[in-house]
């Protein structure tokens, strides 16, 4: 299956600090999706990026797709306790199967 590395594995931040997670692939991606999984919950879709160099924002969340379409990032500005959870990137293989990254678990300290 598609190999995608996600870093860091864990991140602890003080409330109000920024947070970034990165997703890296050795191959060019057709698109990338991001999901959030709250503790005890199931993954919920956040966004899909398709174009090279694309940047999308959702309130305090900024998503970027690299120019070479081999990496992506999710940045959260001024984290809040509601941001706690695990953030996954997901990439498609040629058959439109969807493989998930290893995830970044975010803890926000009040």
């Amino acid at each position: 299956g598609q190999q995608v590395m996600q870093i860091p594995q864990y991140q602890h931040v003080q409330e109000g600090e920024d947070f970034t997670t990165y997703c890296n692939s050795s191959t060019t991606l057709s698109n990338i999706q991001w999901y959030k999984q709250r503790p005890g919950g199931h993954p919920v879709f956040l966004i899909q990026l398709v174009k090279s160099g694309e940047v999308k924002k959702q309130k305090r969340l900024t998503f970027q797709f690299g120019e070479a379409k081999k990496n992506s990032s999710l940045h959260i500005t001024a984290t809040q306790t509601t941001d706690v959870g695990t953030y996954f990137c997901a990439v498609t293989s040629g058959a439109n199967n969807l493989f998930f990254g290893t995830g970044t678990r975010l803890t926000v300290i009040p």
Partner: protein
């Protein structure tokens, strides 16, 4: 229904028994996925159905695992002769079309004693 429905929500079984996990995708969704998630871990791909095409079974960990999707809707994941290492949350997801965003069910927590 309004979302992806999975049953049972919890299943406790004895080692060596067979189990069946059910997934009802969102009506009209052509793609259906099964993933496995161990505690604190990522999502391990198991199998993918797309319309009437042959399923992608490349993620099934052993021949004890099988899945079917009847009539392009409901899917059943069967694990034969369960082992303790099969204990995990089994998540089902569907999407309207291949490559689009996934909608996940709440999962089945499988515990093999």
């Amino acid at each position: 229904g309004a979302g992806v429905s999975q049953s049972p929500s919890n299943k406790v079984t004895e080692k060596g028994k067979d189990v069946e996990l059910r997934c009802d995708p969102i009506s009209g969704h052509t793609a259906l996925y099964w993933y496995r998630q161990s505690l604190g871990q990522g999502l391990e791909f198991l199998i993918y159905f797309q319309g009437n095409s042959a399923p992608d079974k490349s993620g099934l960990p052993s021949d004890r695992f099988s899945a079917e999707r009847t009539g392009g809707s409901v899917s059943t994941l069967t694990i034969q002769r369960t082992q303790q290492e099969d204990s995990a949350v089994y998540l089902c997801a569907s999407s309207r079309r291949a490559g689009e965003k996934l909608f996940f069910g709440s999962g089945t927590q499988l515990s093999v004693l």
